[in-house]
């Protein structure tokens, strides 16, 4: 390794280093995706002052930040598909006051260190008007600080566990109080009184479980088990054995992702059929049903603000449009619809703004924004607490891999801190009013 007179090699290496540095600098100097070179900024504050977002006068840039590769892409890719369809439709309908939406797609590869970078890129370099995307709550929490620092808005379209009220974020998906509050009493009345809860090990299932436990006890039910499984678990022999021992009336499933089909299959294989022991779930969407095979899902229950089988004109059009764009086997599901709605809500809100789409203006315009063709079956409106109203249903899986609606609940306003589980002394003011940094 010691060469004393490797002068040529020395020179080549140093030259390489300098040119690497030069190349880096050159690459840094020019910017990406269409917009022209950044002017040198002596103070970056000039870049990110609460100034206008969006591209040239012809288009409005919308950032779409999703995990298109990696573990999360299983579901998040289809969420992205929904938002792209919405953008197409908005543009086909004439854009926002004549300006077309220009989507800037970024993939954070299921890695949150990359999510933070990409969010920063969308906000500081592309200067998008809003970022729509994310899927897991962790992805949202990871990205929020970047939005706060850069004075920007994030529209999160997936249902989640509530317990959050961030001023820079709008929530297009349902909170537990919008379906659980009716679902649990329905289960106790129709399926049985003793419940065994299984869930994936993260915040959403744990929160849902806490809510279910309280609701069950308040309504005369009992909980005989509450088990969590790390994401990616596909072996459920032990818990199925325990279910056999504890003999509940119904299994309440908050399993997510690839755990869900594995559990349903193994449960069925162990001899449990829905007429003997039904599963009532909160996250077994049409995507998971397709993966487990209709016969393993049939007869089990699910609550949702949306089912692919919903029979209303908006949904019929939506499903047809998704299939036309992405193929006959395309499955539509709740978080995808939430994100699709988010794009439309943004478009409708932006249309009400005269002049530049600043963060303050957009934030104000979004409150009260509605979209009438919501596939969920009723117009969706953004409330003052940055969440949306949603209907909710109970579905029973049929032999075609779709859900038949067996119960419809009256729509409730979203409350991320529902009094049924959050003690009075802990309820923060929500919405926290928007404050520019």
């Amino acid at each position: 390794m010691d060469h004393d007179n490797a002068t040529r090699k020395d020179f080549l290496k140093a030259a390489g280093a300098v040119s690497l540095g030069g190349a880096l600098l050159a690459a840094c100097g020019s910017s990406s995706s269409g917009s022209s070179s950044e002017a040198p900024a002596t103070s970056a504050a000039a870049d990110t002052a609460a100034a206008s977002a969006g591209g040239s006068t012809d288009t409005i840039k919308v950032g779409l930040l999703n995990a298109l590769s990696g573990v999360l892409s299983i579901t998040e890719k289809s969420i992205y598909d929904g938002s792209m369809l919405a953008i197409e439709q908005v543009n086909a309908a004439g854009g926002v006051n004549g300006r077309m939406l220009e989507p800037i797609t970024e993939d954070y590869a299921s890695d949150f260190t990359i999510a933070v970078q990409k969010a920063q890129k969308l906000l500081t370099e592309d200067k998008v008007a809003i970022v729509i995307g994310g899927y897991t709550s962790a992805s949202r929490v990871a990205m929020i600080p970047t939005f706060q620092k850069n004075n920007a808005l994030f529209f999160y379209g997936t249902y989640y566990e509530g317990l959050e009220c961030d001023p820079n974020t709008f929530y297009g998906g349902a909170t537990p109080n919008q379906f659980l509050v009716d679902y649990v009493p329905w289960i106790l009345e129709n399926l049985g009184k003793s419940i065994y809860i299984v869930g994936s090990d993260y915040l959403y299932p744990r929160t849902v479980s806490a809510i279910v436990q309280k609701l069950a006890k308040d309504n005369g039910g009992s909980i005989v088990g509450d088990q969590y499984f790390p994401l990616g678990t596909t072996d459920f022999g032990s818990v199925i054995a325990d279910i056999g021992a504890k003999k509940p009336d119904v299994v309440f499933s908050n399993l997510v992702g690839d755990s869900t089909p594995a559990f349903y299959k193994q449960f069925r294989a162990a001899g449990y059929t829905p007429d003997k022991l039904p599963i009532a779930a909160t996250v077994t969407t049409e995507v998971e049903v397709q993966a487990m095979g209709a016969e393993n899902a049939a007869g089990n229950y699910m609550t949702s603000t949306y089912f692919q089988s919903l029979d209303n004109p908006a949904n019929t059009a939506y499903v047809a449009a998704m299939k036309a764009k992405y193929g006959e086997n395309t499955v539509t599901h709740m978080p995808q619809v939430g994100t699709y709605d988010a794009v439309w809500l943004f478009a409708n809100a932006a249309a009400k703004i005269d002049g530049d789409i600043t963060t303050e203006a957009l934030s104000a315009a979004l409150i009260g924004a509605t979209y009438d063709e919501n596939p969920e079956g009723q117009p969706i409106t953004v409330l003052a607490n940055h969440h949306c109203n949603h209907p909710s249903y109970v579905g029973k899986a049929n032999a075609d891999g779709q859900y038949d609606v067996v119960a419809t609940f009256a729509p409730t306003d979203a409350d991320p801190f529902p009094s049924v589980i959050v003690p009075e002394n802990k309820r923060p003011t929500c919405p926290t009013p928007f404050k520019p940094q």
Partner: protein
């Protein structure tokens, strides 16, 4: 009593899954000194072969296809990449990790990221007494895993190929000098390891979910076995796979899965802390 039977039944089945995963890893290391971090992805490929062919051919044929196709792919991999990594543990770890990334992404790009479905050929369960139930398929997994282990053992001890494998494992230079074509042994052993992974994938597909990222848990589980059993030792691999499966089930059934994972790993670390020898054991 019911709990005990459940623990044993689930434990053996789980152990079988660990075993299938660990066997491929351990043989490949034993013979050619490669730590194959793409093992989980090879299992994934086997599952995909099953998912894509089972609707057109019968199940057993699909299993054979999984073996043949993934083993064949293993030959290609060996020619293109693996042979540069023989006997270099660190380089092989990184190189096969890169391979794992490539395989995962290639499948996502070519076949899409969505979850895939494979029907259960033998549905239903049977009672083990005292109210304990176990599904036919998970018992089958255990039986097949044991058969594979026995088959490997027999190959190693009773066949000429196995003899050559053991020679190369013991000392590849010496083996070369007495006329054994180590090049071929390495290649076919790697193919065998891949084929086994393929079969594992095909067999777990009906009870689990087939998707591009399904491989990592199998890799982690296989590593756990290998830490305890030593690399290259089939008998030890079998024993430890079952032990781990049983321990995990015992804790999981009586408490929960997360505690079980932590307990199993901590126990493994403690066991090793009290062993003063290195983990690399190359005897069969």
């Amino acid at each position: 009593m019911q709990t005990l039977i459940n623990i044993i039944a689930q434990g053996l089945s789980l152990g079988g899954v660990y075993l299938i995963g660990a066997l491929g890893l351990t043989i490949i290391y034993g013979v050619m000194g490669v730590v194959n971090l793409a093992h989980g992805e090879l299992i994934m490929l086997g599952s995909y072969v099953m998912a894509l062919t089972v609707s057109t051919v019968s199940f057993p044929v699909a299993v054979v296809l999984s073996f043949v196709l993934v083993a064949g792919f293993g030959v290609v991999l060996d020619t293109v990449l693996i042979r540069f990594l023989y006997h270099k543990p660190v380089a092989s770890m990184l190189g096969t990790w890169g391979l794992a990334i490539v395989l995962r992404q290639a499948v996502i790009l070519l076949l899409g990221p969505q979850l895939r479905y494979v029907a259960l050929p033998i549905a239903g369960s049977f009672a083990l007494g005292y109210g304990a139930l176990v599904s036919w398929w998970s018992m089958l997994l255990f039986v097949v895993a044991m058969l594979i282990a026995v088959a490997i053992g027999l190959i190693l001890v009773r066949t000429r190929f196995g003899l050559k494998m053991r020679a190369v494992t013991a000392n590849s230079d010496a083996a070369e000098s007495i006329g054994i074509a180590t090049r071929n042994i390495n290649r076919w052993t790697f193919a065998l390891g891949c084929g086994l992974a393929g079969v594992a994938g095909a067999l777990v597909a009906p009870l689990r979910t087939v998707f591009p990222g399904m491989g990592l848990p199998y890799l982690v589980g296989a590593f756990l076995v290998v830490i305890l059993a030593g690399l290259g030792n089939v008998r030890s691999t079998v024993i430890w796979s079952l032990l781990i499966g049983l321990t995990f089930s015992a804790v999981a059934i009586t408490r929960d899965d997360i505690t079980a994972t932590i307990v199993v790993w901590c126990a493994a670390l403690i066991v090793i802390a009290f062993r003063r020898t290195s983990v690399v054991v190359s005897r069969v």
